[in-house]
Symmetry: C2
Subunit: 651 residues, 2 copies
């Protein structure tokens, strides 16, 4: 450990790079980087294990800036510690188009930016996922290969957010001892004093959840150093509550509401330089300060070299690299189960796949929000608990938003494939986290059961009607609504192969007819396909998704008997179909009159239906009754399809 | 207070009505009604102030069943206490179509069902809103007219949910002393023991947030009675942590995981009757038990009569009734401000309206999530705080999901008009609460600023692109994206007039051109209208919303100069436009080629655009740069509209 570092200077270097960059950009949030400079410098100088020359090193410590508006803290740290992409030029382009130094951190792991943050609470919730991933991987590969920590910089806002509270609760429950929150307790929010909206005893709140809590002066380097050492030694997750002065160093703003993000002036920069005795011109860091930062990184570089040696000799060498590279093993598809020909809920078929992946793709880890029995994805999986890190099923409790962000954090950490399971009605609770997965391009898989009025008597609170549309509207999210067991397995296969974004599966609680006989070719890959009938000779086209494909097939049988040549299009994934060439799309959709059939609202179906086509689905919220009765009540029936088909074709 | 009641018998009546109804329905959640029967019976017998003959009495206590899956607890209570709509026949129709006894409680206030619950956490968060409403109304009208309490039955799941945690935090901060949570601490969740996912010290967590906490045996009637009396006497919000046995009374299931919702058998019912010494046949309640329930209601009936006498003589009689009836006062529109002709952000124009409503519609109450300055809806409003209940602006902190549900709770309580303010990016955080407003048909108003890439350098995390579509897909939600100050005022007017559902306003951070000159007629009422150009003689139609209407107007100017007769359609509210007759819609949309223009994704625009029409907007997530540069970067410009218009019209 280099003892000769001038950590105060290292901290002031962060401070002035931040002031200069924010002044140069004309806007930004100085509160965090100026208030947390000593905390961050101490962590990097004395404790952090990273190698800036190898930002993707799997056993690196993970840094999460949960208070992402304070992005200059992170950019300053990355620049000073030697991440090559974060140059002075990049800092000068702070908040400008295409800069690595965006307004809020945007994931770019080879630049040292582990995760996108900015929406409060997401960061610490992701950090919980990262800490789970670390423990799970360590249980599989041993501490020789997996021995790192997760550090999160945290603001008041993150702790006010419900998902932040969920993170505290579950991290305590799971005793994630390698997770440390460095809380910027500056008493100031965007609105003014935190006392406007917070009066709880935050350390007591963490203690109630089983955390180790240390309270320190956030500008006292020796105390910070000691507290981090204590955090590392304690088996519990640790909150280091750092009492800080927001925007410390700018006389006009420090400790004030304006310290948060009020526009800086050249005079502010000048006065700060005088106050902090920092005579250097803008963006200039003296060589001895760079040198201290460089020395600080030696511990990580050494650790990395030692680790590489250990990896070479490790018996699980190849498997470790496969997991961390996210590669699918040869023959993994062979592990997938034979599908039954009996009607059964697609959530059960999904459970079959998930079961099989325990052998075929052991890097899968399932997160579930207290719905083990109805969602049925636990079965053979052992729970990941405080005492047992080799489980691959996390009981997340009724904490969906956290769970979504944990999936993001696990995916961003690398090495595991997160699978998130709950009811589709709760997709709204975790929507922001799912959007983050889409924005970051993370391959998280979100499995939802109870996808429609098929839920039955639990009623409209639990019956999605607009949820599919709301996610089809989201960029970079693939929404699958498979029709049967074969399409469910196909959706899983595609979702696991996709590496650049999340997928979601909307699955049924009720039985789905087995409409496909042959699973030898993955037809879902094209998003939609002709399931029955002719591609060219048809009088009518039925386009359906999910459980309604079974209805369409029954209707087709009757329509054909009436002499109406009917094609059934199964359309499990709109996004993939949209990606096909126009000729394929035109051939599948055909020129004949069309009926769209989905137990959901029409919104979005205008993509596939022309004004004279028909849609059979929902027109508003559902109701409480048994599923078959609801299908009757809302007119989503074979009879209605047949009648509509006859009418459209003039019979 | 009637001292001769046999509360244990009253509780067992709940128990057996629940068993009989669930057995009759073939499904249901017996855990809550059987576990909480003594708690509920004691509350109703000794403390609750309601009049079952007048379920809408404004000064009634509010009951929230936050663990809504235990709906039979509520239906049993309502039946036994004499709410006329909850008959034995209704109980026999539990979970059947059109029954007042739906699977989860669905708001029907004249049946005594105050609010829809079932999605965990929503109920207690609504309860916080109700308690705020009570305090605010009491500050306005005095304790002679407003003097009631909010009681919430709460399960473990509600306390795990982030929004539940937000509720705890803010209720403590605001010291809502008339709010009491009755926690069913039964140690069992759907997945099994709560220890699977919870290990925090929940009483300590509440104490950390400033709550009064009492721990009792949830089956000991005297202790429950005493604890409720203490809760009423304490100025803090109170958690009564009731240690209970789930499904108490059914020997096979009590205290077990299956107690939560495992299917009941006739034998269970028989064994329960033996165990609880309840010899009565199914659905039969002895007259002496009904009589005790009836006696228990006397306190509420007497309070109601006394209150009516006080109301008659009260100087604010008429105003109180106007507020509680939700009527808009004569001439309220006169209070609205003159709109400026200068370009300015629509969020600022919205702030002008909100300011004026402080005088014109003083029953408005603004909730804001720590964004006072950028959303600018505080200005003249005084804060509602622990010490000062006459404020009409609630600093909700960074707790959006709670805030959304508080708006629901305030609207359901009645007497106030909630206005919820934050950034549109955070609409995802409160989506489930907004859906509840739509499902319940509550007139809450959700105002969002920073509605597009116009946010600028804060980047894609903060830039909605799919959010408008995701809410346009939601039933019973009116989504407004006004173009300028006049349309913003129009949207407010319509939103305030709508009584059967929520509205949301998506507003700009950046300047919006003032495209309307004349505000004498509310043109937004029809959802879309011809802003410029001819209804009949046109070569091209530009359809735009929000800030892009200004772009369309500029493009029109250039196109007209090129000899292309161009109409501009402003379309601030799709839902209202959809409600117009087909002739109006056809006239507005016209037959000429169309260009849709919105700084958002195209999803949903297929409603208004034909395959050969064009759309100018986003195709994915945004980026971090200043707003004008982003509009250039993503090609949402006057030039592009002009070029596209020329191309479509063959110029």
């Amino acid at each position: 450990m280099p003892e000769t570092l001038n950590i105060q200077n290292m901290a002031d270097a962060i401070r002035f790079l931040s002031i200069d960059s924010i002044l140069n950009a004309g806007e930004g949030h100085q509160g965090v980087p100026l208030g947390m400079a000593e905390i961050a410098a101490t962590l990097y100088a004395k404790h952090l294990k990273v190698d800036p020359d190898d930002p993707l090193w799997p056993d690196r410590d993970r840094i999460v800036l949960s208070n992402g508006h304070g992005s200059m803290l992170l950019y300053g740290l990355l620049h000073l510690s030697g991440y090559k992409k974060v140059t002075v030029e990049a800092l000068k382009a702070f908040r400008k188009l295409h800069s690595v130094c965006a307004g809020h951190p945007e994931i770019e792991q080879d630049a040292g930016i582990e995760i996108t943050t900015g929406l409060l609470g997401q960061g610490i919730a992701c950090a919980v996922g990262m800490a789970v991933a670390e423990e799970r991987l360590a249980a599989r590969f041993g501490r020789d290969l997996v021995d790192h920590r997760t550090w999160a910089f945290v603001g008041d806002g993150c702790l006010q957010e419900g998902m932040g509270q969920e993170a505290i609760s579950l991290a305590g429950h799971l005793q994630l001892g390698r997770l440390t929150f460095l809380w910027d307790d500056n008493h100031i929010t965007d609105d003014g004093d935190t006392a406007l909206s917070v009066s709880e005893d935050i350390p007591a709140r963490f203690r109630a959840a089983g955390w180790h809590v240390i309270e320190v002066d956030g500008h006292d380097i020796a105390c910070i150093d000691k507290s981090i050492a204590e955090a590392k030694a304690d088996p519990r997750p640790t909150l280091i509550a750092c009492r800080t002065t927001i925007a410390r160093g700018i006389p006009r703003l420090q400790g004030q509401r304006g310290g948060h993000s009020a526009p800086l002036t050249p005079q502010d920069a000048q006065e700060a330089r005088a106050a902090r005795k920092w005579p250097h011109p803008p963006f200039h860091i003296p060589q001895e300060v760079y040198s201290d930062w460089d020395k600080a990184m030696m511990q990580g570089r050494t650790a990395k070299s030692d680790w590489q040696e250990r990896l070479k000799k490790h018996p699980a060498h190849a498997e470790f690299l496969r997991w961390t590279n996210g590669a699918l093993p040869d023959g993994w598809l062979d592990a997938l189960p034979e599908t039954s020909s009996e009607a059964r809920p697609t959530i059960q078929s999904s459970g079959d796949v998930c079961d099989a992946l325990l052998d075929g793709l052991p890097e899968t880890i399932v997160l579930c929000a207290d719905l083990e029995a109805p969602t049925n994805h636990k079965r053979r999986r052992k729970a990941f608990t405080a005492d047992s890190r080799d489980g691959s099923y996390v009981h997340c409790g009724v904490r969906e938003h956290l769970m979504g962000a944990m999936a993001d954090g696990i995916a961003a950490h690398g090495g595991l494939r997160p699978v998130n399971v709950t009811y589709l009605a709760f997709a709204d609770y975790e929507r922001a986290a799912m959007r983050m997965a889409a924005l970051m391009g993370l391959p998280a898989i979100f499995v939802f059961s109870h996808d429609s009025i098929g839920v039955g008597s639990n009623g409209p609170t639990h019956q999605p009607v607009e949820t599919l549309a709301s996610y089809r509207a989201m960029p970079n999210m693939r929404v699958f609504r498979p029709a049967d067991a074969i399409e469910t397995a196909e959706a899983w296969q595609i979702a696991l192969e996709i590496r650049d974004g999340p997928s979601m599966l909307a699955l049924s609680r009720q039985d789905a007819e087995q409409v496909r006989k042959d699973g030898s070719e993955n037809l879902s890959r094209r998003g939609a396909y002709v399931l029955a009938g002719s591609e060219t000779d048809r009088d009518l086209t039925l386009i359906a998704t999910g459980t309604e494909v079974g209805l369409a097939m029954k209707a087709r049988h009757i329509l054909e008997e009436c002499g109406i040549r009917t094609a059934v299009i199964s359309m499990p994934c709109w996004e993939l179909f949209q990606d096909q060439d126009a000729a394929y799309r035109a051939a599948v959709l055909g020129a004949a009159p069309r009926i769209g059939i989905e137990a959901a609202l029409k919104f979005g179906w205008e993509n596939w239906l022309r004004p004279d086509d028909a849609f059979i689905g929902m027109t508003g919220f559902g109701a409480s009754a048994k599923a078959p009765e609801l299908y009757e009540h809302f007119g989503i029936t074979t009879e209605r399809i047949v009648a509509t088909g006859k009418s459209l074709t003039g019979h």
